[in-house]
C-alpha cells in the first residue's frame, strides 16, 4: 500500500479490553423508509410535460390569435376602403353639377321670383309668379371653339368656267376632288352644307356671268 494516509488501528479496544465480547447495544435510530422515487419522477415529468405542452398550446393559441388578428386587420382594411369608396360615390352623387343636370333633365328651372306664404292668414307676399322655361339658366360651358388647325375654314372653289371646261385638264378639277374627299369623313350634314353653299355660289356666279353676257 503506497497510500500516504495512515489508517486507524481496527482493533484498538480489543487490545485494551479483551473481556468484552459483545458490543454494547444501542437503540438504532429508526430507519425511515425511503419514499419511492417513481412517483416523484412521474410528478416532475408530468409537471415538465404539462408545462411544455401548456407552453406549446399557449404559443399555438397566440399564433392562432395572431392569424385571426391579421385576417381581421385585412378585413377591417378592406371594409374601410369600401366605406371610402362608397363615400366617394356618394360625394359624386351629391356633386351640385350632377344634381343640377338631373333637375334640368327633369324639366326644372331656377326660380326667378320669391313667394312667401304667411301661415297665419294664408296671405302671400312677394312677386308670386311661377317660373317658366325661359327662366332656365345654362349650366354647361359653351363648347370650346376648336383651334384653327383642327377646324380649317372650308375652301370654296368655283366650278371651272364653261370656256375652260373643254380644255381644263389641270389643277382646279384636282383641287375640287381633293376637297370632296376631305369633306366626306366629316359627316354628311357638313358635306351637304358645303354643297348648298357651293350651289349658292354657283348661282350667283352664273348670275353675274349671265349679267355680263347680257
Amino acid at each position: 500500500m503506497s497510500s500516504p494516509l495512515r489508517l486507524p488501528d481496527p482493533h484498538p479496544r480489543e487490545a485494551r479490553e479483551p473481556r468484552r465480547t459483545r458490543p454494547p447495544l444501542r437503540l438504532a435510530p429508526r430507519r425511515r423508509p425511503r419514499p419511492p422515487k417513481v412517483p416523484f419522477v412521474v410528478v416532475v415529468a408530468l409537471v415538465a410535460l404539462g408545462g411544455v405542452v401548456g407552453l406549446l398550446l399557449f404559443n399555438t393559441s397566440m399564433q392562432q390569435a395572431s392569424f385571426a388578428a391579421s385576417a381581421l386587420e385585412r378585413h377591417a382594411g378592406t371594409l374601410a376602403a369600401r366605406e371610402q369608396k362608397l363615400q366617394m360615390e356618394l360625394e359624386g352623387l351629391r356633386d351640385p353639377q350632377r344634381v343640377a343636370r338631373a333637375a334640368r333633365d327633369a324639366g326644372m328651372v331656377v326660380g326667378r321670383s320669391t313667394c312667401f306664404l304667411s301661415l297665419a292668414d294664408g296671405a302671400t307676399s312677394g312677386p308670386c309668379t311661377p317660373a317658366t322655361a325661359a327662366d332656365g339658366m345654362p349650366i354647361e360651358p359653351q363648347p370650346q371653339a376648336r383651334p384653327g388647325v383642327l377646324d380649317p375654314a372650308p375652301t370654296y372653289v368655283d366650278p371651272p368656267a364653261e370656256q375652260n371646261q373643254v380644255g381644263d385638264t389641270g389643277s382646279r378639277g384636282g383641287a375640287g376632288d381633293a376637297r370632296g374627299s376631305r369633306n366626306d369623313p366629316r359627316g354628311a350634314d357638313r358635306g351637304a352644307r358645303d354643297r348648298d353653299r357651293d350651289r349658292g355660289d354657283d348661282g350667283t356666279a352664273r348670275g353675274r356671268r349671265g349679267g355680263a353676257t347680257r
Binding site: 399564433q63 395572431s66 369608396k85 366617394m88 360625394e91 356633386d95 353639377q97 320669391t114 339658366m137
Partner: protein, 585 residues
Amino acid sequence: MSRARPSLRGQSVLRLRVAMVVIAMALSVLGARLVQLQGVDPDSYAEMAAAEGTVDAVLPAQRGEILDRNGVALASSVDGMMVVVNPQLVDEDAAPELARLLADRLDVDYFDTLTQVRDQRYQFRYVARRVPSTVANETLEAVEDAGFDGLSLEEDPVRDYPAGDVAANLVGFMGAEGEPRAGLELTFESMLHGTDGEARYSTGGGNRIPLGETSTVDPVDGEDLTLTIDRDVQWFVQRALRNAVEGADADSGVAIVQDTRSGEILALADHPTFDASQPLLSDKADLGSRALSDVYEPGSVQKALTLASLLDAEEVTPTTRITVPSELESGDTVIGDYWDHDTLRLTVAGAISQSSNIGTVLAARRMDPERLHDYLVGFGEGAPTGVGVGGESTLPLPDGEVWTPMAADRIAFGQSVSVNALQMTAGINAIANGGVYVSPSLVRGSATTAAGDEVGTDEVERRRVVSEVAARQTSDVLEQVVDPETGVAPGAAVPGYRVAGKTGTAQRANDECNCYDGTLTVSFGGFAPADDPRFTVYVAVQNPRNGGGGGSVGGPAFSSIMGQLLRHYSVPPTNSSPAELPIEW
C-alpha cells in the same frame, strides 16, 4: 504494469496538449469571428437578421379634409394604392394576357401597360397610380388567381375633389407625388398634413409573430379645414359668372358673395377656372384665384365709397345741388362723363346714380383730399384682406406727394387706384353693414397659414368707417341706380326686394404701354335687402367684347346671384319702399 504507467501518463499529457491546442485554435477562430462581428462590422448582421422577417411600415397620416360651411367635403383623402410590376418576374409569353387583365381592371391603356410589363431592364414599373384601394386589392387578387407573378401594391393616397371645379380656385390642388401645389392646400399644408407614424414588427408567412419585436408610433392625422364657403351657393355663383363672362365674350370674371354682418365669404368664384381633379388640363394662368391675384382700377363702383365718405364728413347731403359742366379740368387733364351732355343740374344722388364722373369730382372737391385718403384706407383699400389664400396682390393707395388733388379727383371716381375684387367687396360691405368695416374671412374658426398668420372668423376685425346715418343715406342713393325708370342698371334689380348697388365701367390700365388700351373692366357691386342688408355681391368682368358695361353685363349676373341667395337662405322681402330722392334740380 510499472512499464505501462509512464507511457499512459505520457499519452494523456499528449492528449491533453493536443486537445488544448485544438480548443485554443477553435477558441481563437471564434474569438476572431467575435472581433469581426462585434468590432469590425457590428451592424450588417444585425441588419440582415432584422431584415429577415421584420417589417418597417410607414403609417401615413390621413390628410385633413377641406369642408364647406355645412361640413360638405370640397377636398377629401381616400386610401389609395399604386400598382407596380416587376417585369423581370413576368413571363414573356404571359405579358399580353397580364396587360389585358390590368387594362380591363384598372382602366389603363393596354399598350402602355404592355410596354411597362415587358420592360425587362427594370424591376419596378408603375402600372397605375392613385387607385382606390378596393379596386387595387381586387385587381391583385384577380391577377394572383390567374397565376401571374410580379405585381404588388404600395400606399399612394388619393386626394378627391368630389365637386370638380367648384371652389377649385380656392381649394387648390395636389401634385403627382401628393404634395400641395396651390390654394388652401398649400397655405394650410402643415395643418392638413398631420404627422406620419411608423410600425415595426416581425412577420412570418404574412402574419405578425405575436411575441416578436413590435413597436408602433401612431400617426397623427391632419386637421380638417372648414371654410365659410357654401358649396351650393359657390356652384351657382360659378355658373352665373360663367354665363356672364361667356355671354359678354370676356377674358375673365370674378364674383364674390359676402355675408354682410359676419364678413364671411359665402362664395368666391373665378372664371375661367379649373377642375381640381385634373388641373393639368387647364391653362396655368387659370390655376389660381384672380379675385385675389389680379389688381385693377375699380371704376365707378368706387363712387359709392366716395359718397359715403362725403356724407359722413357732412360735406354733402343726397340732395345737395351740383352744377355739372360738360367737362371739367383737373390739373393738366380734362375729366369727362361717359355720355355727352351740356351743363346738367344734378343732385348728389343724381350724380352718383347716373354715374357722373364730373359730378362726383365736384362733390369730392368739397372735402380735404387727405381726409378722403383716410376714409378709403378705412374701407380697406391699399391693404391686403389677409383671408389666407396665397398670392393675394394689392397695390398701396397713392400716398404723400403722390396724393395730389388731381390724383384725388380721379380716385374719387375709381381711376388711379388699384384694388383686388375682394377688397372692393369688403369696401361695399362696410356700407351695407351700417358703416362698420368687417374684414372678410374664408376660414371658419381660426387657422395658421404657412406664413404664420392667424386667419379665420375668430380673427375678424371690425372698425367703424362712416356713421350709420351716412351708410343709410348712401344706401338710399345706391337704390336709385337700379331704379327701373331712372337708374342706369335696372337689370340688377331683384323682383320683390330692395336692392342697392353701383355699376362700374373702368378703362383697363395696360402695363406694357403704361396707358389705357381701350379695354374695359365692367363691374357691379351691391347689397340686399337694402334696408336690412344680408348679403353683399360683387361681380367684375374683364374685357367684355360685346360692348356691354357694368349695368348690362354685371347687373344681370348680380341680380341672378342675389336672387338665388335670398331664396336659398329664405330671406323675406322687407316690403318697404325705396326712398324717393330727386335726381335733378
